[in-house]
């Protein structure tokens, strides 16, 4: 038995679930926070090993001993090249968000809730069975609804969009199941799925739920809900393998319009959360666009951009959250002059913000290059639009930096600088952003491998007549050239 024989993935799902139950029993917020942080940390440890087992373990799936067959009668959770880095990424986001939570916010940031959502998100990113994946996605959407209800906020916008999303997801996959033969031609199956994905990704015109979500949810939960790009994940697992080219083209058009629109909106926002929501939307749409171009280079670019966006926008979001913890909701109607009080926050804000737009030396740089290159290959106009989007996002980030950190100095008698835990969280993300940017080859190669694998699954699903599966590990065997 080696270290890779331990079922790390199952542990990564179980530990936060158990932790959620235990922490939920604590009444003292500080105690709940400490225990919650321990559970989240251990979950991160398990998920990192689960991810590594795909590359370093003996088998391709990395799990040798599993309790899944005993519990469910079949394997439901597993990792492949595509999902291997995403699961640790989700855990990392949860850990750092929990870690960076200020003491005064501990009463409002439920550790039990956070652990439960951690388990659910890891399960989503590791799920191999379409119906279970759909179920988890719907539960995840419901999770958000409960958050809004608990906070006493208006829920209609969110509930309307998420109901539509859930219904379309179920409807689409029901048709996929019914229409076993020639599924790639079936508009009944692919159109509802496409619409569901477009809603979940916040594509224009179904994007208002996302800005509304950022308005009303707590910033920490809002970040955790959106930054792993669950909607794009659903697109890769459920739509990309089976959708005909015209469906992908439609998604591509919507994504492109959203990318430009959201980038434009980000440049005129008067409040920091809404600005963040649009910036995030623009980036998500670029990732989605890369998927829909479905060439090896575009997918490599999209998958790399995915990781870059998740890391950089999480860092960016945590910085904004730290600012909110000190100054309340941040208006962008005038200059705030916060630099002298929080120089480290200003630096982190700028670094993570520029990393998200692919500034040289950061993780997103090569990813953005790959995406533009593949876009131009398909059409010069798409390439131009992607570059325009990137330029607008860059302008929006620097504009908000100036609005928040420059201007007449904010006066305060107490130190408002970044705290040690916040600093650790943001610097960890910054270190990952720079490490990935200065040594991009391993990451890009891994994403290229995942891209080839996803395209292979698509090719095999289009050729075969056996039911679709979401993982490369379980895809029907391809016909070799020799045969």
């Amino acid at each position: 038995m080696t270290i890779w024989s331990i079922p790390w993935l199952e542990l990564a799902i179980l530990v936060p679930l158990v932790g959620s139950l235990i922490v939920g029993a604590f009444r003292a917020p500080m105690r709940a926070f400490t225990w919650g942080l321990c559970f989240t940390g251990f979950t991160l440890f398990c998920s990192v090993l689960a991810g590594l087992s795909v590359y370093l373990g003996d088998g391709s799936d990395g799990v040798h001993w599993t309790i899944q067959t005993t519990l469910f009668g079949r394997r439901i959770f597993g990792l492949d090249d595509f999902s291997a880095p995403l699961v640790p990424l989700v855990s990392l986001m949860h850990f750092l968000t929990a870690l960076a939570t200020g003491r005064t916010k501990m009463r409002r940031f439920s550790m039990s809730w956070s652990l439960a959502s951690d388990a659910m998100r890891i399960a989503v990113f590791a799920c191999e069975v379409p119906w279970v994946l759909i179920g988890l996605l719907i539960v995840g959407a419901g999770h958000g609804l409960v958050e809004l209800i608990n906070r006493g906020k208006p829920i209609r916008v969110y509930a309307l969009h998420m109901s539509l999303y859930s219904g379309l997801l179920v409807l689409g996959w029901a048709f996929v199941d019914l229409d076993v033969n020639h599924r790639t031609q079936s508009a009944w199956a692919t159109v509802p799925l496409m619409a569901a994905i477009l809603i979940r990704c916040g594509t224009v015109p179904a994007h208002c739920w996302l800005t509304d979500w950022f308005e009303h949810a707590s910033f920490g939960n809002a970040l955790l809900f959106v930054t792993p790009l669950t909607g794009v994940y659903a697109a890769v697992r459920l739509v990309l393998p089976i959708a005909p080219d015209w469906v992908l083209q439609i998604i591509g058009v919507f994504s492109l319009v959203t990318a430009i629109y959201a980038a434009g909106m980000a440049t005129v926002q008067r409040e920091a959360r809404r600005f963040f929501a649009y910036l995030f939307l623009s980036h998500t749409s670029l990732v989605l666009l890369g998927l829909e171009l479905h060439t090896p280079i575009s997918l490599t670019g999209a998958f790399s951009l995915w990781i870059a966006v998740t890391l950089s926008l999480s860092g960016f979001g945590l910085t904004l959250r730290a600012l909110e913890a000190r100054f309340g909701r941040m208006s962008l109607a005038s200059f705030r002059g916060l630099y002298e009080h929080s120089p480290a926050l200003a630096v982190c804000f700028l670094v993570t913000g520029l990393a998200s737009v692919g500034f040289p030396g950061t993780l997103g740089f090569v990813a953005a290059e790959l995406l533009v290159e593949s876009a131009i290959e398909v059409s010069p106009y798409i390439g131009l639009a992607v570059v325009l989007t990137s330029a607008l996002n860059g302008i929006a980030v620097v504009r908000v930096y100036f609005l928040l950190f420059t201007g007449t100095r904010h006066t305060s008698t107490v130190s408002l600088n970044i705290g040690p835990r916040e600093r650790f969280a943001v610097l960890t993300l910054t270190a990952l952003i720079f490490a990935g940017g200065l040594f991009p080859q391993p990451g890009i190669v891994s994403r290229h491998q995942a891209a080839v694998e996803v395209l292979d699954v698509r090719a095999r699903c289009c050729e075969s007549e056996v039911p679709t599966v979401v993982h490369a590990n379980h895809a029907p065997p391809s016909v070799s050239a020799d045969e």
Partner: protein, 462 residues
């Protein structure tokens, strides 16, 4: 034991790493919020600049002694996957080596000046972090052997410049000007990024050496077809125009003077403003592949020179006058590049950069000298009328004066026809979204609308 090639490689690496290490040191300290002393920063700058300069001079000496005109340092493929590679390569030739030496020389001079000029200034550390970023960007750009490498340096120069314009960030004007500079630079960056991708599409790589064959700079011709050269050249001209403040992007240059004098001197008077011209020199064989491109470059250069000359004549502050004077020379340099006079353009560029640095650094004390002089003679210094003052009818002269005073209306046109419609459109979309969410919610849906522009009280401590 040490052959020519290995010595050049070692020296070349020193040239590149010296400013990069300086930036890493100062940047890392800022990131972890550790304040370095003025003395440490000054010493680090001295060591880095002198090391880089000596290594660059060493390469020049070796190249002159061995009569080699083209050396390359390949750091290998940064990223390589099927159908895509991103290589890092640096070129040492008759264009890049003088420009790198110029960068080190002027940056070193400015660093020495700035350590005194910025002494005990609150943003001392911040200034030198941005300064280090600028030097690293300049050196990477000047030595870049591939367009991706050049783009990396180009972006570093752009960001540091915009942040330096907004250096005195307690006042709104420098910040607004910094943002404007950043917007123009983003347009320039976008054009360069597109050019980089077009190069990849044409040749599957962004290597200048492979794109331009037939001998080391200034010789060489491109192998790409006329139509392709037209597209690529157009993008490169837009990129250069944005960076060098050529017409119609000239509006940012006087705005950039809001920054501290050392940064104005080095960035806009001496180095940054010449970066566009440098790019055009680097890709001059591509420009010469099409007569239309060459003509466009000449027209652009001459138009900029004329515009800057007219505008400079009415400026009332010394830095703005110098910046437009600088721009008129940059316009001429660009015109020379379009005419194919590559050596003349390079010599013009080097000489002009040195002269402007001197003038910019002298500017603050010159005003004091003028004051002393005028106090001594007891009256204002006379300004004799020039020949231009009597040229043309009065109406035309008035129009020309207004035109110059408004800086050719370039900023006003940009604001009226691009910025305002853009902002209005998206504000309208924002209002529509608000109505839509209010309609669904059945109440006011945005908490953010209720926010006050500023909340002076601290809400809660972490």
């Amino acid at each position: 034991m040490f052959d020519h090639e290995s010595i050049v490689s070692v020296l070349g690496l020193i040239v590149i790493t010296a400013p990069v290490l300086l930036f890493c040191l100062l940047g890392l300290a800022a990131l972890v919020d550790r304040k370095l002393s003025e003395r440490t920063i000054s010493r680090a700058c001295q060591i880095s600049i002198v090391t880089g300069l000596v290594a660059a001079l060493g390469i020049l000496a070796l190249m002159l002694l061995d009569e080699t005109r083209h050396e390359t340092i390949e750091l290998g493929d940064w990223v390589i996957i099927p159908h895509y590679n991103f290589s890092v390569k640096f070129i040492f030739d008759r264009l890049s080596v003088p420009f790198a030496i110029l960068s080190f020389l002027l940056c070193g001079t400015i660093a020495a000046f700035a350590t005194r000029y910025m002494h005990r200034e609150q943003g001392y550390n911040r200034f030198f972090v941005l300064y280090a970023m600028f030097v690293a960007g300049m050196v990477i750009t000047s030595l870049a052997g591939t367009i991706e490498t050049l783009f990396t340096g180009w972006e570093l120069v752009g960001l540091s410049s915009a942040l330096l314009v907004a250096f005195f960030h307690e006042r709104p004007a420098p910040v607004q000007n910094g943002l404007r500079v950043w917007v123009v630079y983003r347009i320039s960056d976008a054009a360069l990024l597109l050019a980089s991708i077009v190069m990849h599409q044409l040749h599957s790589h962004g290597d200048f050496d492979l794109m331009i064959s037939g001998g080391p700079w200034p010789e060489g011709h491109t192998t790409i077809a006329h139509g392709q050269a037209l597209l690529l050249g157009f993008l490169l001209i837009v990129a250069a125009a944005g960076k060098s403040a050529l017409v119609p992007f000239s509006g940012w240059l006087p705005r950039a003077m809001e920054g501290p004098t050392p940064s104005s001197a080095i960035f806009y008077g001496a180095l940054s403003v010449h970066l566009g011209a440098f790019l055009l020199l680097r890709v001059s064989p591509i420009l010469e592949a099409s007569i239309w491109l060459s003509a466009a470059v000449i027209v652009l250069g001459l138009t900029t020179a004329l515009y800057a000359y007219v505008t400079a004549a009415v400026q009332t502050d010394i830095k703005s006058a110098l910046s437009f004077a600088s721009l008129s020379q940059v316009g001429l340099i660009v015109a020379e590049i379009g005419a194919g006079l590559r050596y003349i353009a390079l010599i013009h560029l080097l000489g002009h950069a040195c002269l402007r640095t001197l003038q910019f650094m002298r500017a603050p004390t010159l005003l004091q000298d003028y004051r002393v002089l005028e106090n001594a003679i007891g009256s204002r210094l006379s300004h004799p009328q020039g020949a231009w003052d009597r040229l043309g009818p009065t109406g035309f002269r008035r129009w020309l004066y207004r035109f110059a005073l408004e800086r050719g209306y370039l900023d006003a046109l940009l604001t009226r026809y691009i910025v305002n419609p853009f902002v209005s459109l998206f504000r309208w979309c924002d209002a529509m979204e608000r109505r839509w969410t209010d309609f669904i919610t059945g109440q006011v849906s945005r908490e953010s609308d209720l926010l006050k522009p500023s909340t002076p009280q601290v809400e809660e401590l972490p």
